[in-house]
């Protein structure tokens, strides 16, 4: 059937219109950078040209790939853990104002505390492996999901709720058929915020522990005045952030094709 969705889906030509400008802009920035470094003869340890950065990446891709995998595992582990717990608490809070008042202040405390300050404590509890990294990523991504999910679970259409209540629908029926789907736009908004935050959390934890991952790679490169590798690590982290955000956007577009934000 030729549904209304077909009218609103992007024509193929505008995909090019969406992708080309940022690609051209990025290429122009890299080109300007390259020319500037060469013309002004900037020292490599201050600012290597992009060509040197890409050579560093090219020469030892395994080093970057394994460090990226380590950081990504910690980041996503923390994100999934925190999002799951936060959504569960949000379900409780959305059904009871008393529980919401109980949950909110401790959650706010977690949000306003500089999480980095907790690192020594987390290292004592979880050792120097992946544990404290996951914990930092989790603590940093917990609050956006909690707040968004509470608002989302409460943002049900009152007329739809009434239509279900006159059928004596149970809380579970109302949750699965109305509240949960209604919360999804807010859940995805939270993920868009917390996905990059989880990477920040993991890398900061690696700076502090110096044991593995992109954070350690950056520390070592920095110590060796290997600025090209340092930039390489930054490029890889940026690419990870962009890819994860794009992935969230893709899944969101698939799941929320009914939502007003779809196609916008």
């Amino acid at each position: 059937m030729n549904g209304p969705a077909a009218e609103f889906s992007m024509p193929r030509s505008s995909w090019a219109a969406a992708v080309l400008p940022p690609v051209v802009a990025l290429t122009a920035i890299l080109a300007l950078w390259e020319v500037y470094v060469r013309v002004r003869d900037v020292k490599d340890y201050l600012l290597p040209p992009p060509s040197a950065v890409f050579r560093a990446l090219w020469d030892d891709p395994d080093r970057f790939a394994s460090a990226a995998a380590t950081s990504l595992t910690a980041a996503l582990g923390g994100l999934v853990l925190a999002s799951g717990i936060a959504f569960g608490l949000a379900v409780l809070a959305a059904h009871s104002r008393v529980l919401e008042r109980a949950i909110y202040p401790p959650a706010l405390l977690v949000k306003v505390t500089p999480i980095v300050a907790l690192y020594p404590l987390l290292a004592i509890w979880f050792g120097f492996g992946i544990g404290p990294k996951v914990a930092i990523a989790a603590l940093i991504t917990f609050f956006p999901m909690l707040v968004n999910a509470i608002v989302g679970l409460r943002s049900v259409d009152p007329q739809a709720l009434d239509a279900m209540r006159v059928l004596a629908a149970s809380r579970w029926e109302i949750f699965r058929r109305l509240r949960f789907p209604s919360s999804l736009p807010y859940v995805f908004a939270a993920l868009r915020i917390s996905v990059p935050l989880s990477l920040v959390g993991a890398v900061v934890a690696e700076f502090l522990s110096g044991s593995s991952g992109m954070g350690q790679l950056i520390l070592i490169a920095n110590g060796a005045f290997d600025t090209a590798s340092l930039f390489g690590a930054v490029f890889v982290l940026a690419a990870l952030g962009v890819s994860l955000t794009a992935l969230v956007g893709y899944v969101e577009g698939r799941v929320l094709d009914w939502h007003v934000s779809a196609g916008a």
Partner: protein, 268 residues
């Protein structure tokens, strides 16, 4: 009224409201009296409208009958039990001013919602209602692609799909343009002739109330009281042509006079 009504008997009361008074907490701490000693009957298969000025508590009355707000004083019986009993018996259908459809479900799935909730699948009934309200061609569309009038048709089909005994309508056409309103009135009359269930219909429009109803309940504003109950002597089946009949004009005039009586009373 006794509480041992024979539900199947002709003339049995579908809704019986006795001396219902309702207060809302006001902003200044003093309670706002929304309903004051309201009586109301709806007999089985009867179409009853409630008209009154804004804020006369007619929506409150409807929501009390629907069991969506708890009654404070007075007696409300629906099909011989409490509104909660009627909910649990899946005997109520509700259409509000906004359709309240689920945007992620297509039209057919929205109509099916009550059957999903009550775990009584009946695909034939869904298809029959889609036909009945004239939206069968749009079964696979999401509500976002439909006009306001079409969405309200979907809401009407959803309210009827589980074969309720009482249809509650709270200004169901209030958000529609005039042409859609007129089309929906005719549509509702046709469907009501077929389904033959009791309807309690809240509206601002005197013409709408008279055209549709067996009886029109006129309420006064703040606090809401029943000022008059006016029988509509028009023959059935009805159609828009009757809006120019003498009986229609006389009845509408009587309803308007009853509405206006309050303004004079307030000024005196």
């Amino acid at each position: 009224m006794t509480s041992t009504l024979d539900l199947a008997a002709d003339g049995a009361l579908t809704v019986s409201v006795r001396g219902v008074t309702h207060r809302y907490p006001g902003a200044d701490g003093r309670a706002l009296l929304a309903l004051d000693g309201v009586d109301l009957d709806v007999r089985a298969g009867e179409f009853v409208s409630i008209v009154g000025p804004s804020g006369c508590g007619k929506s409150t009355l409807l929501r009390l009958v629907a069991g969506l707000i708890a009654s404070q004083a007075g007696g409300i019986e629906v099909l011989g039990g409490t509104p909660g009993d009627a909910q649990r018996a899946h005997a109520l259908g509700l259409v509000a001013q906004e359709p309240g459809l689920l945007p992620w479900r297509d039209v057919a799935a929205n109509v099916r919602l009550p059957l999903d909730v009550t775990r009584t699948p009946d695909g034939a009934r869904v298809n029959a209602l889609l036909e009945q309200v004239g939206i069968a061609d749009f079964a696979g569309y999401r509500p976002g692609a439909l006009s306001g009038g079409m969405r309200q048709r979907v809401a009407l089909a959803r309210a009827l799909v589980h074969r309720p005994r009482l249809l509650l309508m709270d200004e169901p056409f209030g958000a529609l343009d005039e042409l859609s309103r007129e089309a929906m009135r005719v549509e509702l009359l046709r469907i009501w002739e077929q389904e033959r269930i009791a309807v309690l219909f809240v509206t601002h429009s005197v013409a709408e109330a008279v055209l549709l109803s067996d009886r029109v309940v006129v309420m006064s504003g703040r606090p809401g009281r029943v000022r008059a109950v006016i029988d509509v002597p028009l023959p059935r089946p009805r159609g828009e042509a009757q809006e120019s009949s003498a009986a229609f004009i006389e009845t509408a005039a009587a309803v308007r006079a009853a509405l206006r009586a309050g303004d004079d009373g307030g000024a005196a």
